[in-house]
């Protein structure tokens, strides 16, 4: 009996562990049908995908470069979800974080680098904090659904960026040349993040992101603040009864979530673009949610999850290039993967509940 149980247990573990992989595989199978529809050999395409993402230095560094903002945004999403709020406003928070960091670095470019660099990051973080804090406050105090307000605030942030990039923040060189490219002046080199592999975009922001992932883990599970965020997220009523100021923690969760998204924006301009440009985010706010979900909303899980999801995105792009399928296939594939992964979650939950009942 005991032996049987142990086998059962191990089997459970294996199937449970394999589920996300199976889910991704399932999505790829459906994607293969789309490829066949396009007259492309799915094996060739997927080989290009895997090889493109991880087959060489270029692919690996691109994956890691992509994983950096995904991880930072994903950490923000983890905090929000743990705090019981859904942050769909990552996109706007990233944009404003990038705008704010760029403006700060350009405005104070004469400051010494050791001071300017952290403060530039801080400027981006604070902008995200505010832009995330607003919907948090609206939810806590006014009962405005955060999904709604963040959707709206993404649009507002986009227009703020449009406004700044063609006026107040427009690169003086652009004005001089009369070309009107909507971008800011270059950031002072002091705030550029070190490139870790020469001739690639892979920058030290990745290290920062991993460190922060560990920090968020400590924050959520080792500190009283994290304890309260989780308590509020899991059961607001009980938290209220226990004397935790619930609305304050709802605002805090959203604000912290926004702060990480804002930081992601700052790190993107400091590490990759070196100036504020339109299209610097292009969907990290959404794909960060997916990455966080892949990591089961756990900050440490988000590290490999963002790497895996980043590799999928990079690989899919490379697949588009090498077999010349429309880029929309990649988007559809991404959607399928999300659907398969969330759907497969049911089995994980069922299993864990069954285990709990057995233990009783």
């Amino acid at each position: 009996m005991a032996a049987h149980e142990r086998t059962q247990f191990t089997l459970d573990r294996i199937t449970g562990a394999a589920l996300p992989v199976l889910a991704v595989a399932g999505a790829l199978v459906v994607g293969a049908l789309l490829l066949l529809m396009l007259g492309v050999n799915p094996f060739t395409a997927y080989a290009a995908l895997f090889n493109g993402a991880l087959g060489n230095v270029s692919g690996i560094t691109q994956t890691l470069t992509k994983a950096t903002p995904l991880l930072l945004v994903g950490l923000g999403i983890c905090i929000a979800f743990r705090g019981g709020v859904i942050n769909i406003g990552g996109e706007g928070q990233i944009i404003l974080g990038a705008v704010s960091a760029s403006a700060f670095a350009i405005g104070f470019s004469h400051w010494p680098g050791w001071l300017l660099l952290p403060l530039t990051m801080l400027a981006g973080t604070l902008a995200g904090l505010v832009w995330g804090g607003i919907p948090g406050w609206l939810k806590a105090r006014m009962g405005v659904n955060e999904i709604l307000s963040t959707v709206m605030m993404n649009q507002i942030a986009l227009q703020v960026m449009n406004f700044l990039l063609r006026g107040p923040m427009l690169d003086p060189a652009q004005i001089a040349a009369g070309t009107n490219i909507p971008q800011s002046a270059a950031l002072p080199e002091a705030v550029w993040l070190t490139r870790l592999v020469p001739r690639t975009l892979f920058h030290s922001g990745a290290i920062l992101a991993v460190i922060l992932a560990v920090a968020v883990y400590f924050l959520l599970w080792r500190t009283t603040i994290g304890y309260r965020i989780r308590a509020v997220g899991l059961n607001a009523a009980a938290s209220r009864y226990a004397g935790i100021p619930v609305s304050r923690y709802v605002v805090l969760s959203m604000a912290l979530s926004g702060a990480f998204c804002g930081l992601a924006g700052a790190v993107e301009v400091m590490g990759v673009h070196h100036r504020m440009i339109e299209g610097m985010s292009g969907g990290y706010g959404f794909s960060g949610i997916v990455a966080a979900l892949f990591g089961k909303l756990h900050p440490l899980g988000a590290i490999p999850a963002s790497a895996i999801f980043g590799s999928l995105l990079v690989g899919a792009d490379k697949m588009q290039r090498s077999v010349q399928v429309p880029s929309s296939l990649v988007v559809a594939l991404q959607g399928l993967i999300v659907l398969f992964v969330v759907a497969s979650d049911l089995y994980v939950r069922r299993r864990s509940r069954r285990r709990m009942e057995e233990r009783e």
């Binding site: 009980a238 009864y241 935790i244």
Partner: protein, 498 residues
């Protein structure tokens, strides 16, 4: 029902149970929590499937897979937690799930007419147009009964129907039930209140740990007999309370008013004092301001006028967190909902209020060594049955979760304790234990406010009893000088003639 077997993972919920009911009889199903009575009834109503055994209706074997099957066979069920959609009207609730005489269109006028008819016949007194959330608990129950009758239920299962009623309402309910049995309806009455069971039933079936203990006629049985069948040993039904010298007033409410959930004034000028070493029981039908009273004292609900003092200190403006730090403890009514974070581990739940205080934290960091030590101690002292302190709380039984909350609250050596429905839904063993703990606490000088809908409990534990009606304290009486009847009248808003 013959030889019904139902297994849950790791638990044999029903072990070859036989159960039968005759036309026009009230058959009580008695047992502790987890004895399998609810499971058995859910099988009968098609909410659970069963592995073995057969169900016979009028001698014919029937298959009941869904509630729809049960309803079609004339079986109705009134759940302990009412199955009503409170944003809908009474008529809409009754019409839900039924075909309409106008095809896809609703025929609410006809349904309402039929409700009035039924209401008349059984003296149910229900307004078909009322929105359910505006109804009192007793009325909601009558809506449930109408729902079953409307569906032509010949056999009605009532799951702890009296738990939330005043003695008078219980009487009314019993009248209705008797009228129904005279009409040929059969009733299954689930309860753990022994005197009610003896009062209303024709026969009584007792279950313990999923096993049938026997079916006996109600006549000639005593409460002690039934209790022994239920628990398997003698049970202390009356508790001896030693007199405790009462000290100064530890909790003072002066003319407190507050708004309720719906935004109406639910607490109107309440004044009361509780002294050290005293238990003040609050009796009343639920929804008459008890919840608001507890929340005001806990600092979870703002007062619109008046003030609250604890230990001579005005705490009216203090937030909940501050009050708990100064010797206030609270056992909330909805323990699963308000008392614990179910997904948290046992030890995490044990520091729900105190996690920011040393020794459980240093600065902003939690100190796991101290937390573990503290948790082990409490789990041991309060006999919380759990595999370990890291076990998720949701996998504990209801009684053990209540013990966990009790442990957490009492370990903080409170000066003032509010205990709302502390034994609702727990089994007799746990109830005994919790009662004893509350009395022990009283002896250490804690001022306790005990809110309970169980009049027996209030009478058993309180020194004085305050009766609430429509947000007011009708009267505060000494326990020795009152009776269930007097309290019942007060609960209904009537001053008894003395």
């Amino acid at each position: 029902m013959r030889g019904i077997v139902k297994r849950f993972p790791g638990v044999l919920a029903c072990d070859a149970v036989d159960f039968d009911i005759r036309r026009g009889e009230v058959h009580a199903l008695l047992g502790e929590n987890g004895a399998g009575k609810s499971t058995l009834m859910k099988i009968l109503y098609g909410l659970y499937s069963h592995e073995e055994g057969t169900i016979l209706l009028n001698g014919e074997p029937v298959s009941i897979r869904t509630p729809t099957d049960a309803i079609e066979l004339g079986i109705g069920m009134i759940h302990q937690h009412f199955m009503l959609v409170d944003t809908l009207t009474v008529t809409e609730n009754v019409a839900l799930g039924l075909p309409s005489s106008r095809g896809p269109l609703l025929d609410l006028d006809r349904v309402a007419a039929r409700i009035r008819e039924l209401s008349e016949t059984y003296r149910l007194d229900v307004n078909p147009d009322a929105l359910v959330w505006t109804l009192a608990v007793g009325e909601r129950q009558r809506v449930e009964i109408i729902k079953a009758l409307y569906r032509g239920a010949a056999l009605l299962i009532l799951d702890e129907p009296t738990a939330v009623l005043t003695p008078q309402e219980v009487d009314d309910l019993f009248h209705i039930l008797r009228r129904m049995t005279q009409d040929g309806h059969s009733l299954i009455f689930i309860s753990h209140k022994l005197h009610e069971v003896l009062n209303i039933s024709d026969r009584i079936t007792v279950l313990r740990e999923g096993k049938l203990m026997g079916t006996v006629p109600a006549q000639g049985m005593s409460r002690a007999d039934l209790a022994r069948m239920m628990v398997g040993r003698d049970v202390l039904l009356e508790r001896n309370r030693s007199p405790v010298a009462q000290g100064s007033a530890r909790l003072v409410l002066e003319n407190v008013s507050a708004l309720g959930v719906t935004g109406h004034e639910s607490l109107r000028g309440v004044s009361l004092q509780i002294h050290a070493g005293e238990i003040l029981g609050v009796a009343g039908v639920s929804g008459n301001g008890q919840r608001e009273l507890a929340e005001v004292i806990a600092g979870l609900r703002a007062v619109t006028s008046g003030w609250v003092e604890m230990d001579g200190l005005d705490v009216t403006g203090q937030a909940a967190g501050e009050r708990t730090q100064t010797g206030f403890a609270y056992i909330p009514e909805e323990r699963m909902h308000d008392g614990v974070v179910r997904e948290f581990s046992v030890s995490e739940n044990l520091i729900l209020q105190d996690h920011t205080r040393p020794p459980y934290s240093k600065g902003i960091f939690l100190d796991f060594a101290h937390i573990a030590q503290h948790s082990q101690e409490l789990v041991r002292n309060f006999r919380v049955k759990t595999p370990g302190i890291e076990t998720p709380t949701k996998s504990l039984s209801g009684g053990n979760i209540q013990k966990l909350i009790l442990a957490r609250e009492l370990a903080r050596l409170p000066k003032v304790l509010v205990a709302a429905q502390p034994t609702r839904g727990v089994d007799i063993g746990a109830m005994e234990y919790i009662h004893q703990r509350l009395l022990d606490q009283r002896e250490t000088g804690t001022a306790t406010l005990l809110i309970s809908e169980d009049l027996d409990e209030v009478l058993a534990l309180s020194d004085r009893i305050a009766v609430m009606y429509e947000g007011r304290v009708m009267d505060i009486v000494k326990r020795e000088e009152t009776s269930a009847e007097e309290l019942g009248l007060l609960m209904a808003g009537v001053y008894p003639e003395r």
